[in-house]
Amino acid sequence: MSADNLKTDTPNDVEPGDSVRPGHPVQVSRYTLPARINHWITALSLVLLALSGMALFTPKLFFLTGLFGGGQWTRVLHPWIGVVLFFSFAGLFLRFWRANLPAREDGTWLARISDVLRGREERLPEIGKYNAGQKFVFWGMSGLIIVLIASGIAMWDQYFYAFTTIEQKRVAVLVHAVAAVCIICVWIIHVYAAIWVKGTIGAMTRGKVTGGWAWRHHRKWLRELVGKPRRPVPRPGTPAE
């Protein structure tokens, strides 16, 4: 994030690289290429962590260790993928945290969650770049990843055995497991939302959405983009959809 993004006159909702290209249909740049790469590294890490973690979490899924070259490799790789995830997500965090700060309309959005679920967006307020659900995913991921990396290190015996007591390790494994369940649930919400809301996935693949998509789901953000002067695309980020 470049320094001028921090200018107070720049609306929080607009991230570097966001832009509108008029046409038919209107094309809206939502995520820059680096943001998308960052996202997919994170996504891949998270999926691998979920798979390897689940393998160690329940015997029924232990067969998943086969994906990683067996139990020993799973045990070796999981924490290292966690480290990758941590730093990768840290990148996302720095890109997206400002746009994910709470806004006034988030409350209304949440209050009308049944309308959200029914897809009656006309009954919702105009939303910035991220709606409250997306912000929940963002902050949920952020918090859980911190919990997971902290508890994960406490149970990473190969390097950190000596630094905690066994009782602390026990707390750590329990916390790690609960946090992992939570983060997987958050991830499910995230992925489902991307599938349910058609036209979303393109944001993270090609980096673009249609104007109609933006109009329908993030009208406030679209309005801000339209109102903002054109400028070359710097390095933007990608939110957790």
Partner: protein
Amino acid sequence: MFPPIPNPSVASDAATPRFGEKDVMRRSASEVTPPAQRLTEVAKLIDVSKCIGCKACQAACLEWNNLTEEIGFNHGTYTNPMDLTPDTFTLMRFTEWVNPETENLEWLIRKDGCMHCEDPGCLKACPAPGAIVQYSNGIVDFQHDNCIGCGYCIKGCPFNIPRISKVDHTAYKCTLCSDRVAVGQGPACQKACPTQAIVFGTKDEMKDWAELRITDLKSRGFENAGLYDPPGVGGTHVMYVLHHADTPSIYAGLPDNPRISPLVDAWKGMTKYVGLAVMGFAAAAGFLHYVVAGPNKVSEEDEENAERLADGTPPPAPPAGLHEGRTP
């Protein structure tokens, strides 16, 4: 004298183990059908009051299991190495304790090592199928080919016993010399123990033998002498005779009431089931939602509105009263 176990036979036909896969009662991360008939439970009894702390058990363990421990340092105590390690399955722990009642010094020496719990926390915690097995005679054994080195057993163990090797990254602990017991021998430590502070036999025999010892100790003024066979872990297959059985923790931190930590129980119990349920529910809910609510699609009208906005043509106003939350 507890009758010595006869010398082993070296004949090749004497080598068939008397128990094995079919006698596995519990297997980590696996469902097993317990054998229809349980083997007679075995046990090692460590009589702390007869122990002279000579470390013969430690030496015999290293030799029998071909373990090479590092030559360490002196830290001001006779306990060496300082802790159990992947190569030290058993360790004499020395405590100088002044009995507050008699003001006499007592040198409490306890042989530490795997207790072979009836309800083994390590096995419960272990995520690797078959890395830890419990035979129906009570022996809890690690199977290194299956071990993934995660160290969950360490967290599961109420006695802080298993250690992960830095060499092969698998967990090690006392096997109760399952290879010896399988051919009718006792563990190497028991064989060596000069004063028979360690004896080995069926669990019932060991309890009877312990009773004799406790009677003797009580006659010598140790009123609280007793057997340590903690019920919190379902009893153990390594038991202690303690002169002060009312306070096991004075013996270098032997747990007073060991049990599998509630945290571990929660982790391997509730969390596992609830967690799987929650995740499953989340996925199912999404699926259902999709079926019921259908995809959330962008309409042609939305695209037009966007184009208009981009072109500078005002789009139609939203229905009144619905966008009160919007930013001006």
